[in-house]
């Protein structure tokens, strides 16, 4: 089944966006990302000590994958920090795509809804294509659209918890109210079943990192997620049966033997 989707004018086949952090080794990272079938990989910028080559070697592996890069502003706590890091990313990675993260609380690492909207507005004005990491708040999502975001990335649950979709009701409401916006679940995915649920709800894609990188066997888990996104997308397009309150037999009851009028 060919079933492409489009993000800011670029078309992709895989519905999985994957992170490049937390893998046991650069080689495992490369193999896992390849096995995942993902076409978009998230990266970041950090201070470098001149001599250090550690990051360098990983960065070399990432480049060799030849994937579309999505730089993030992970760790930024203010609009100003996010804007500057985005500008540095644009120069460094030669892309105007930016995964916008403005953290509002260090305990649950949730995005700051107010600062995220403000930063998104300014980044759009500066020509960025913004992928905002946001909560499952419909009104914040609408604000982000109104300032020019064309993609939204609500969380499933807090980063790194692997708790899956904490609030399917909110996520479904966002899907129903914003039928034409590409929606990607970002953060909280812990297992393939979580990704399948996201796509069954009508979400267009999933972004994850820890679930693959921290699995006992990252490459095999990556393959699992590849199948999960295909499963979830097919389920959504195929139209699942409605959940029923009471049982009904699958095998025909007509012509059941051993039954006789008395």
């Amino acid at each position: 089944m060919t079933d492409n989707w489009t993000l800011y004018g670029s078309t992709f086949n895989s519905r999985l966006l994957i992170g490049s952090a937390l893998y046991p080794s650069p080689q495992v990272m490369s193999d896992a990302i390849t096995a995942s079938g993902s076409e978009i990989v998230t990266v970041s910028l950090r201070r470098q000590a001149p001599e250090e080559a550690g990051g360098q070697s990983l960065w070399t592996h990432i480049q060799q994958l030849n994937k579309t890069l999505l730089p993030n502003t992970a760790g930024c706590h203010s609009v100003k920090e996010a804007l500057t890091l985005a500008q540095m990313s644009r120069e460094m990675f030669e892309t105007d795509w930016i995964k916008l993260e403005v953290i509002g609380d260090d305990y649950n690492l949730q995005p700051d809804p107010i600062a995220t909207v403000e930063a998104a507005e300014q980044l759009v004005k500066q020509g960025f294509k913004v992928f905002p990491y946001c909560t499952d708040d419909l009104v914040v999502c609408q604000r982000l659209l109104s300032v020019g975001c064309e993609v939204l990335m609500p969380w499933g649950s807090p980063i790194g918890t692997g708790r899956g979709l904490m609030n399917p009701y909110n996520l479904q409401t966002i899907r129903e109210r914003l039928p034409d916006t590409p929606l990607i679940i970002d953060a909280g995915i812990g297992k393939p079943s979580h990704a399948v649920m996201a796509l069954e709800l009508g979400y267009d894609g999933v972004l994850l990192n820890t679930a693959v990188a921290q699995a006992s066997e990252p490459v095999l888990m990556a393959e699992g997620f590849r199948h999960a996104l295909l499963a979830g997308r097919s389920a959504y397009l195929a139209g699942a049966m409605p959940e029923r309150q009471t049982a009904s037999p699958s095998t025909p009851t007509l012509g059941m033997p051993f039954w006789h009028q008395s």
Binding site: M29, S44, L45, R46, Q56, M88, E91, N209
Partner: protein, 67 residues
């Protein structure tokens, strides 16, 4: 000589030298890093025309893995 912080390390530098030379002097490859001064982005094209002032805070970053 002025004092600036580079990725939080204090350094004595000659205020006459352009940023491009300072970066090389510190061992950075200008093609492989991005720079901000006092949290403002400095494009690569401006390195040669940029000079630091006393107490400037310089960030020099390079690509790493991300989630």
């Amino acid at each position: 000589m002025i004092q600036v912080s580079v990725n939080s390390d204090m350094k004595q530098v000659d205020e006459m030298l352009p940023l491009s030379e300072l970066l090389s002097g510190w061992g950075f490859d200008c093609q492989r890093v991005a720079v901000a001064i006092n949290e403002d982005f400095v494009p690569r094209s401006a390195y040669s025309a940029t000079r630091l002032r006393d107490n400037d805070r310089v960030d020099v970053v390079a690509p790493v893995q991300g989630g």
